[in-house]
């Protein structure tokens, strides 16, 4: 391809320069965390008192705002739909007992699913949304749970509901961290994937080579 040796050397030098630049880009890419791909939407949900709390997030930290949340029961019938807040969160009363499948549609082909098993949901008494309880949850929402406790004796059931709710709320970061951990792409997974690709290539070559050698011997 090259006319003479000197041209070859000049080309060699430009190639080295280029590879320096490319190397820089590569280092930049690798310096970036290998944790996750950017535009996947994830979600998790759990029961909090008489409500189900749903939170969605994109793997790059953005929140799915005003995205539709649909809940299906075990027979795939839609039992609830609503939209997330600007924080990507939504709380709603448990629609029915039993297994629930919750989907979050973030548009552009991004959708996350989460399944709540029947015993998680059934652990709560769905019919227990009495007036007092609603009042209690309103008070909790206002952050006045402790005040309420001191001013008024709380019935056992209400107390239980309150405990469940506040425990649920403090569990949010934990649930989220767990979910993120579950979704994390490990370097070992990536290397494993590359290994599989190379393995498939190798297998293909192996069988091709066998075919070729058997052809050669039959000739």
């Amino acid at each position: 391809m090259y006319e003479d040796f000197f041209v070859d050397i000049i080309h060699g030098v430009t190639v080295i320069k280029m590879s320096g630049l490319q190397g820089g880009v590569l280092v930049m890419l690798l310096a970036v965390t290998l944790s996750a791909q950017a535009h996947k939407v994830n979600m998790f949900a759990f029961v909090e008192g008489n409500e189900i709390f749903v939170e969605g997030y994109f793997t790059d930290g953005k929140k799915p705002k005003k995205c539709e949340v649909i809940v299906y029961d075990s027979s795939d019938k839609q039992v609830f739909n609503g939209f997330t807040s600007d924080d990507g969160q939504l709380s709603f009363a448990i629609p029915t007992a039993g297994d629930l499948r919750i989907t979050l549609n973030a548009g552009e082909g991004h959708m996350a699913q989460y399944e709540l098993s029947g015993d998680e949901v059934a652990g709560e008494e769905v019919t227990d949304v009495s007036a007092g309880n609603a009042q209690a949850s309103a008070a909790v929402k206002a952050g006045a749970a402790t005040d309420r406790e001191s001013t008024q004796p709380v019935a056992d059931k209400e107390l239980q509901a309150l405990i469940r709710k506040s425990v649920g709320q403090s569990m949010r970061p934990v649930m989220r961290a767990l979910d993120e951990l579950k979704e994390r792409r490990n370097l070992s997974d990536i290397i494993g994937g590359v290994g599989i690709i190379m393995g498939i290539g190798g297998l293909f070559l192996y069988f091709q080579a066998r075919k070729m050698s058997s052809k050669n011997t039959s000739k």
Binding site: L29, K40, E108, G109, I197
Partner: protein
Amino acid sequence: MHISEGILSTPVWVAGYVGTAVLAGITMRKLDMEEVPKISVITSVFFIASLIKVPLGPASIHLILNGLVGVVLGWRAFAAIMLGIILQAIIFGHGGITVIGINSLMLGGGGLIAYMVWQQRHRFSFKKREFVFGALAGAVGTISSGIVLATALITTGEAFNAIAATVLAAHIPIMIIEAAVVGASAEFLHKTKPDILAGRKQPVTQG
């Protein structure tokens, strides 16, 4: 850029599988043994590329590189991308099992179109030819995948104008970055190891 599971109706994802099977069958005919290592390496590049996120302003993006696969592998790009997508779905839950077909069609089809664009370079001769056509291939690879994505989503009932606009807006920055990366890679490969690029001087059909 993957369609998640549970969005598309059954006929659409089944059609994705059928289309993928047909295209894979056509593009993998008469595979030469010598091509296999190259395909494996490029498949790995594609597989990894979409797992690495690059921060860009407030958000972050990841490269798709289906255009690069097209530029290097030619017609074999489709199978490479398909294998990458299968593994991404199985190992990382990227997309999902039912949507492997439509995702392969979306990204692999983009790779094939990128290759067709790349081949047009033979009609021209100017200095930065490889860079320009590499960049074009990268951009076209991204945008044609975006078109397939928008089309698939329309079948789910998303309004055409809305979805076309959002998909296009989301893909413009990716398109520009892909163009730069694929262009630079094509030029670099052309200088260092030109025979690795697909469709050289005489576009011989393999075998």
